[in-house]
């Protein structure tokens, strides 16, 4: 299956969970749980290991997130700190117990046997983490992991710029701009131009592209070529 086909299939699945309405974080989390064959997925905004805010959770997922917050340890914490996926496909094994001595028994007590934490980030833009959990141990297959990573990317974009949820229908196609180095270079340039964080700069770049109904890559190329400069305080950007 090509990447484009895979993305289309996943997007259809998100839409199906949305039952015709505008897709939300909850729908993406539900799709994530479905494709990864886990019991649930919980998405949290996380600016650091200790500052987190749950934005969507299933019942058990909310408990996992609560444990993570109160105990300050677990795969979700490590994923945020290290900025990379943390896979704990069997919480009963010794390595897991040694790594998270408080979290592991607490998770077992609520019936969680496997946790997969995927950071939501685009380079230096760090948004949060999505944590998948399952009552039975076992690894994700390569295909499940692929699907989960693609949907985590989508969650990341939705969290960066909540106002553009509905527009992902078009943007979640084969070219979403994330593969284009110029998009990231433009983000860095805009952060200096506006004196804002890269998070805010990326959000502004996207808002400008949507506001002018132009592809992200094209707008980014204009910024890098210095044909376009975003100005402070112009909403989503009149030139």
């Amino acid at each position: 299956m090509t990447t484009a086909d895979r993305r289309r299939r996943l997007w259809q699945l998100v839409l199906a969970h949305g039952e015709g309405g505008e897709p939300t974080l909850a729908h993406v989390c539900a799709a994530l749980a479905e494709v990864a064959l886990v019991d649930g997925a919980v998405a949290a905004l996380a600016s650091s290991a200790t500052v987190r805010a749950t934005v969507h959770a299933d019942r058990i997922g909310a408990k996992v997130e609560e444990l993570t917050l109160t105990l300050g340890e677990g795969p979700g914490v490590d994923a945020v700190v290290a900025g990379r996926p943390v896979i704990a496909d069997d919480l009963r094994d010794r390595a897991a117990a040694e790594r998270w001595p408080v979290f592991v028994p607490a998770a077992a007590a609520i019936g969680v046997a496997a946790v997969f934490a995927l950071p939501l980030r685009i380079g230096a833009v760090r948004v949060g983490v999505v944590t998948l959990h399952r009552g039975t141990p076992g690894a994700l297959t390569v295909a499940q992991l692929s699907d989960a990573l693609i949907l985590a990317d989508l969650l990341c974009l939705m969290l960066i710029d909540p106002s553009t949820n509905g527009r992902h229908a078009g943007q979640f196609g084969p070219v979403d701009g994330m593969h284009n180095p110029e998009v990231h270079q433009a983000t860095g340039m805009i952060s200096v131009q506006l004196g804002v964080s890269v998070d805010a700069a990326f959000s502004r770049l996207r808002a400008y592209a949507y506001g002018h109904d132009r592809p992200l890559s094209e707008v980014a190329a204009d910024v890098v070529a210095r044909w376009l400069r975003l100005e402070p305080d112009t909403g989503d950007g009149q030139r």
Binding site: P85, R121, H184, V192
Partner: protein, 246 residues
């Protein structure tokens, strides 16, 4: 670096892999050494993003980088064929490959390349990336050089699987994700520097890379510090036009 020998390169690679190392720095080093060791004009490396797509990781020269990005953009070329089939691709004369790669072949020729070789980065049944060699003269890469190139591609795979404490699948996932985001941070840092110092992104990369080397820092770590503003790189007096990427 023309007299570089195979044993030197393997010793250097092994040294790097033993120490606490940065995946992308390692990939850059590898592409550099490929050109010296194999007498090719440029080398580039693409990695799977585990979402079914290849992404640019490293290249020895700007031309190499542009050709790798071009293949990704038009979705054709030796690196992609190699990735999809898991088999080496050797085309001794790019001029004969216009049917196979109608977009890639003329562009590669316009950069002065006459032959191209792509080697898979394989991990058991899975292909996780590809190493691309661009050659400025017609002719196959000699058999022994192809074998060395494949060995270097295998070393790159091993580099991705450095930590041994957890299963290789998890390491692969975390390392590929780390490399992917490190690459993005470098692009973001290039943008920050380009804007702040009024230089082009290619020059910004050289500055970043030279500073990382001079301070014995990891490239991605320094790039992260540039992006979050905790590190300001000065413009060096030497404004030479190197062969860095853009």
């Amino acid at each position: 670096m023309t007299d570089i020998q195979l044993p030197d390169v393997f010793v250097e690679m092994a040294d790097t892999l033993v120490a606490d190392f940065d995946v992308l720095d390692f990939m850059h080093l590898l592409t550099d050494r490929c050109t010296a060791l194999l007498d090719v004009s440029a080398a580039g490396l693409l990695l799977s993003d585990q979402r079914g797509t290849l992404r640019f990781a490293a290249a020895s020269t700007e031309a190499g980088r542009l050709l790798e990005l071009f293949q990704l953009q038009v979705d054709e070329g030796p690196c992609l064929d190699c990735f999809h089939t898991g088999q080496p691709v050797m085309v001794a004369d790019i001029a004969t490959a216009t049917d196979r790669w109608p977009q890639f072949a003329p562009v590669a020729a316009s950069y002065g390349y006459a032959a191209v070789c792509a080697l898979p980065m394989r991990l058991r049944s899975e292909v996780i990336g590809a190493l691309n060699l661009f050659i400025n003269r017609v002719g196959s890469l000699a058999e022994d050089k192809q074998r060395i190139a494949q060995a270097l591609a295998d070393v790159a795979t091993i580099g991705l699987l450095q930590e041994r404490s957890i299963s290789s699948r998890d390491i692969l996932t975390t390392q590929l994700e780390t490399a992917l985001h490190s690459r993005i941070i470098i692009e973001q840092a290039k943008g920050v520097l380009a804007e702040r110092l009024g230089i082009d992104p290619g020059r910004a990369f050289e500055l970043l890379r030279d500073s990382a080397r001079a301070g014995n820092r990891k490239l991605a770590e320094l790039a992260g510090a540039v992006v979050d503003g905790s590190e300001q790189l000065p413009v060096p007096a030497d404004r030479g036009t190197g062969k860095g990427e853009r």
